[in-house]
């Protein structure tokens, strides 16, 4: 395990609620190496955001319980005080969010907000910070950064706002960038530009990136590896190539099928996964996906472990041969 930038082990995030303990993230482990882009895929409520927010220590809910270990460059982040976390946040690990409109403070200029972050971590004068802010805005591809720096968030287009936000996130050269659905609120052409920008950042800044998304297209575009999450658990850990050619988990197959095929006959209806995601307070005892799984059998009442080979693992009781057979026959069976 040498060289891991971020090493998360057995992370559990639960919330105390009136109806008992709600386990939003259930014992997940993953690692991110330097220079790596990891995609986290799953539907709403699958724990993608919560698990990454806990990496940043951003879960402020007093009813949240975070257990397990999050090692960043060998340093344990779980249990650090807010004050100690402040030196990590923004300077070591930066985060970008889904909607830059609401994620930027509306009453300050872009430049002011970037300068604020720079000056929170680096000992720079106001003029130096401002110069750096203009530089950064230029680097993320904003035309005329010298004037954009004095604009308010509402004066920029959605794509520009997200660029400005990325500039802010990069201002202290973080080693890890967590992007929480950075393209969801943007229109499609802008999405591609933003993804391209993120890819460029890895080359120029050498940052690792964790990108949370529910869009496999985003993954195809940018990620090296993918984690598929379902009901707070990782159900499959796979390389980008394998997720499209030989995914192992039936849930991943379902995600896969929900993308319209580019070649061949147009399906009459896109296949969908039957049912809806389970409520986190009443998870089935075994495999959380089993009630919706077409290939469920007796053993699914036991919780499957995440097993597999190096770089590819899935939490499913089906044997490898069965998976291969079922995956190949699945298209024909699909309604």
């Amino acid at each position: 395990m040498e060289g891991a930038l971020l090493d998360v082990r057995d992370l559990r995030v639960s919330f105390r609620t009136e109806r008992g303990l709600l386990r939003a993230v259930d014992t997940i482990s993953f690692r991110v190496d330097t220079h790596e882009i990891v995609g986290v895929v799953g539907e709403s409520g699958s724990g993608k955001t919560v698990s990454l927010m806990s990496v940043m220590g951003l879960i402020t809910d007093p009813n949240a319980v975070i257990e397990g270990s999050i090692l960043y460059k060998g340093r344990e982040l779980v249990g650090l005080s807010q004050r100690q976390l402040r030196s990590v946040r923004g300077s070591e690990i930066a985060m970008i969010f889904q909607d830059p409109m609401t994620a930027l403070t509306p009453v300050y200029t872009i430049g002011w907000q970037i300068e604020e972050q720079i000056r929170a971590h680096l000992d720079l004068s106001r003029t130096q910070a401002r110069r750096r802010a203009i530089e950064l805005l230029g680097e993320v591809g904003i035309a005329d950064p010298a004037s954009a720096v004095d604009r308010f968030p509402h004066e920029l287009s959605g794509g520009m706002r997200q660029r400005a936000f990325i500039a802010m996130a990069l201002s202290c050269k973080p080693s890890l960038l967590i992007a929480d659905e950075p393209t969801t609120a943007l229109d499609v052409t802008v999405q591609a530009q933003i993804l391209e920008l993120l890819g460029k950042l890895r080359r120029d800044f050498g940052s690792s990136i964790i990108i949370v998304t529910h869009d496999l297209g985003v993954v195809a575009e940018i990620a090296d590896r993918v984690m598929v999450m379902y009901a707070g658990r990782i159900v499959e850990r796979v390389s980008k190539r394998d997720i499209f050619t030989r995914p192992w988990h039936p849930y991943t197959w379902g995600l896969h099928d929900s993308i319209p095929p580019l070649q061949g006959k147009k399906p009459h209806r896109l296949p969908s996964i039957p049912g809806s995601p389970p409520s986190l307070t009443s998870l089935p005892p075994g495999c959380a996906f089993s009630p919706r799984c077409r290939y469920r059998f007796d053993r699914c009442a036991e919780r499957p472990a995440l097993e597999g080979e190096e770089g590819h693992a899935a939490a499913c009781h089906l044997s490898l041969e069965e998976r291969a057979r079922l995956y190949a026959s699945r298209r024909r069976e699909a309604p």
């Binding site: 940043m56 951003l58 402020t60 807010q82 004050r83 976390l85 402040r86 030196s87 990590v88 946040r89 923004g90 300077s91 930066a94 985060m95 969010f97 909607d99 609401t102 994620a103 930027l104 403070t105 509306p106 009453v107 300050y108 604020e116 972050q117 929170a120 971590h121 308010f152 509402h154 802010m168």
Partner: protein, 323 residues
């Protein structure tokens, strides 16, 4: 900026004209309100009544009466009282205005500083004992009627404990102009300021706390945390700024109303001859010229305060500037 100024002035003139007509109609044209019989006193003979009516110009058509009153008020500035004949109205208002302005401005300083302090502290220590105590204190402040509180303050500082070291500095009730003796002015007004401010500190503190707590749920607060900023910086720079909008709105309304005579109770309790007191006395005597003058003065301040609020909005929130 210029067009804004012109628009504001036009708006103000419109509001003041509307109010003057309304006030005039209430006192002259409402059935059963005959100013002449009020002036002539009870049991006045019809002859006396007719004489009074003619004397005060009350036998002329209403529009003419209104026009004449406006002319005296705004053009010749020689409007005289109905009750104390020969008493000019405008100097009276001009004399009373500084008293009210001193009272309200001073109190406003207290209540803005006090309520921001309380609101921010309560929001920062949200759900703790400090927060609960502050909010309970705020509720008590809101619940204490100003005339009662003022009387208690007077009882303690003027009578019961006046001769102790604590309150021997308190000057007797009344008003001393700032230009005469600034220090005495300050000492006389300190207790009235605090008495008047307590209600607003409680009210504004609670409103601000609620707004701050709400703002702390916003996405940009999460961003600020992700940037590695300190909690106090997040609260003061990111949450407070956007929370002040409601605060400023309230302030504009209350400030305008108070300067326009709403501080009547405080003025009476502390023996300050301000605009509130003047209006109150005029209302009791149905002294229409005085009522008209004080209402005009009040409406000016209400509109003026609202214009200030709008300018403050634009400084607080850049999104307003475009509109």
């Amino acid at each position: 900026m210029l067009s804004l100024l012109v628009r504001r002035t036009a708006q103000m003139l419109f509001v003041m004209a509307g109010i003057s007509i309304l006030v005039f109609l209430i006192f002259f044209a409402t059935p059963g309100s005959d100013p002449a019989s009020r002036i002539a006193g009870r049991n006045a003979s019809p002859e006396v009544l007719a004489a009074v009516r003619h004397d005060f110009g009350l036998d002329r058509p209403l529009p003419v009466q209104y026009a004449l009153m406006m002319q005296h008020l705004f053009i010749t500035h020689d409007l005289t009282s109905f009750v104390n004949r020969g008493q000019r109205v405008i100097p009276e208002v001009i004399e009373a205005a500084p008293v009210t302005l001193s009272l309200v401005l001073g109190a406003a300083v207290f209540w803005v500083i006090g309520s921001i302090g309380i609101g921010v502290l309560a929001a920062a220590t949200r759900d703790s004992v400090v927060d609960r105590l502050l909010m309970a204190a705020g509720l008590i402040g809101i619940s204490m009627p100003v005339y009662w509180l003022g009387e208690i303050v007077n009882l303690v500082t003027q009578s019961r404990f006046h001769d102790t070291w604590l309150f021997s500095w308190v000057p007797p009730l009344g008003y001393t102009a700032f230009t005469e003796d600034p220090w005495l002015w300050f000492k006389t007004l300190l207790l009235p300021w605090m008495t008047l401010a307590i209600l607003y500190i409680g009210l504004y503190g609670r409103v601000l706390r609620a707004n701050l707590v709400e703002a702390m749920q916003e996405d940009y607060i999460r961003t600020a945390r992700a940037k590695g900023l300190s909690e106090s910086r997040i609260l003061l720079h990111h949450a407070l700024r956007t929370s002040l909008i409601a605060f400023v709105t309230l302030f504009g309304l209350d400030f305008g109303a108070l300067v326009g005579g709403g501080a009547l109770l405080t003025e009476v309790v502390f023996g300050l001859q301000g605009v509130g007191k003047l209006t109150y006395d005029a209302l009791r005597n149905l002294d229409l010229p005085v009522i008209m003058a004080t209402v005009m003065y009040a409406s000016f301040f209400v509109v003026f305060a609202n214009a200030l609020v709008d300018i403050t909005y634009a400084t607080l929130d850049p999104r307003v500037r475009l509109a």
